[in-house]
Structure formats: C-alpha cells, structure tokens
Symmetry: C2
Subunit: 131 residues, 2 copies
C-alpha cells in the first residue's frame, strides 16, 4: 500500500500553490475541477505521490465547514490500490463501511472511494485506483 | 520533493496499528519511542514513504491537546530533503520561520525540523533528512 496523495484543504488555492512551489520547491503537476465534489484541485508532484491542494467552491460544502476559519488544514490521506472494487469488497467483508459504496471519478481520471470515518476511528481515508 | 511520511495522532497505538495492518493491509515497519517529543511511533511501510502513527505519552503535551477527544487525527506531513541544514537556511532566507531552527533526531535516526505553522498558513509541515 502506497500513499497516492494527501489532501490539504485551503482557503486560497493560488496562494497555497505559490507557497508550495516558490517556498518549498514543488512542481505543479495538474489543476482541475472535480464537479461532483464541487472542488478545485491543484496537484503537486511528490515522487510517486501527490500533494493535492483542495479549494471548495461552495460556502455550504462539508469541506468548507471542515476548514472553518483556518487558512489550510490536512483533510484526508489516500492509499493507492490496484483494484478499487476488490478493495471495497474486502473492506466490506471486514465490517469497514465506505462513504462511497462504489468507485467514482476523482482527479487525474482515477477511481476513488472514501471509507467512513466511523470505521477508521476518525481519519478520513480514501482508496484510489490510478487510471 | 517527496512525502517522507504522514503523521497521524492516535489515542490507542495498538488498536490503530491493528486497523492499518489487518483491515488495510499495511506492514508494521518499526516502533520506537522518541524521547524529546515524548511520543511513541509506529511506522507503517507505504512504498518509499511511511505512515507514522503517533501516541503522545503525556496528558499535557501539545499532541494530546491537538488530538482532543478524537480517536485519530491527521497531524503533520513530512517532506524529504537531501540536506536539512541547507533546506532550513533556504526557508529562512525566504522568510519562513521554523519551530526547530536546527535539525534534531526523529524516528529511524532521521534528522527532522518542523516549520512554523504561521509560515505555512496552518498545516504543520516537517522537513526530514533520512539517515
């Protein structure tokens, strides 16, 4: 199991990208809008992984509530799996609930599903299958 | 820049390790006590990165306050650098403050330093040089 990406919520996407590129030395690898999550994502290349900076577009999304008054906050960690449907079936057989019972499209055309925080003791964990 | 590790605070280290190993399929790679942070760390292998599960030993540590009533919470993200002293000097020259102005020993005998959250817009970022 590898880290596919770490999702960091930010209030100001351009500012957050600038900090990571100019101050830390990252390369911006992609920027896209994921409609069904209503979120703009800037992806920074980190070896085999990514840092995904997430900017919620709507004021009443769960992401905006999670961020609260903070400028940036760690939001989720995504683990890469070879076969997401099989991984979800395995989780289900172990009693681990998922928010997404079947895969949906994430950034970079990947397939993603979030596990339910009640099944992970709180941390938001995403499983991710690369395109 | 690569992700060296993601630090996840947990209230119950054995339980958190069991979840990651049995339910998610991780391998426990190391467990150690870092005295100057008063924290027990279980490291899970994630490709070239680690997931570090952190259990504060004292009830009045900043880590315990950060965790609050939660069972688990994402705490920090650590980026791997080749030369930590040079990276800290570069950060300083760009006006980025560090909590640790000089490197100290972290897990796996690595050299680590935390940047100051006021300079990173909130997320706790660690720079890490492997042994």
């Amino acid at each position: 199991l590898e880290i596919d990406h770490v999702g960091i919520l930010v209030a100001d996407l351009d500012r957050a990208v600038r900090f990571h590129v100019e101050a830390l030395g990252f390369t911006e690898s992609f920027r896209e809008f994921v409609a069904d999550q209503d979120v703009e994502i800037a992806g920074l290349c980190a070896g085999e992984s990514y840092v995904e900076l997430l900017r919620a577009q709507s004021d009443d999304s769960p992401l905006t509530r999670f961020l609260g008054q903070a400028q940036t906050k760690l939001h989720h960690i995504a683990y890469r799996v070879a076969d997401l449907r099989a991984a979800l079936a395995e989780c289900s057989s172990r009693g681990i609930a998922a928010i997404d019972e079947s895969p949906r499209r994430g950034a970079r055309n990947s397939l993603v599903a979030f596990l339910h925080p009640k099944s992970t003791n709180g941390v938001l964990i995403e499983l991710c299958q690369r395109d």
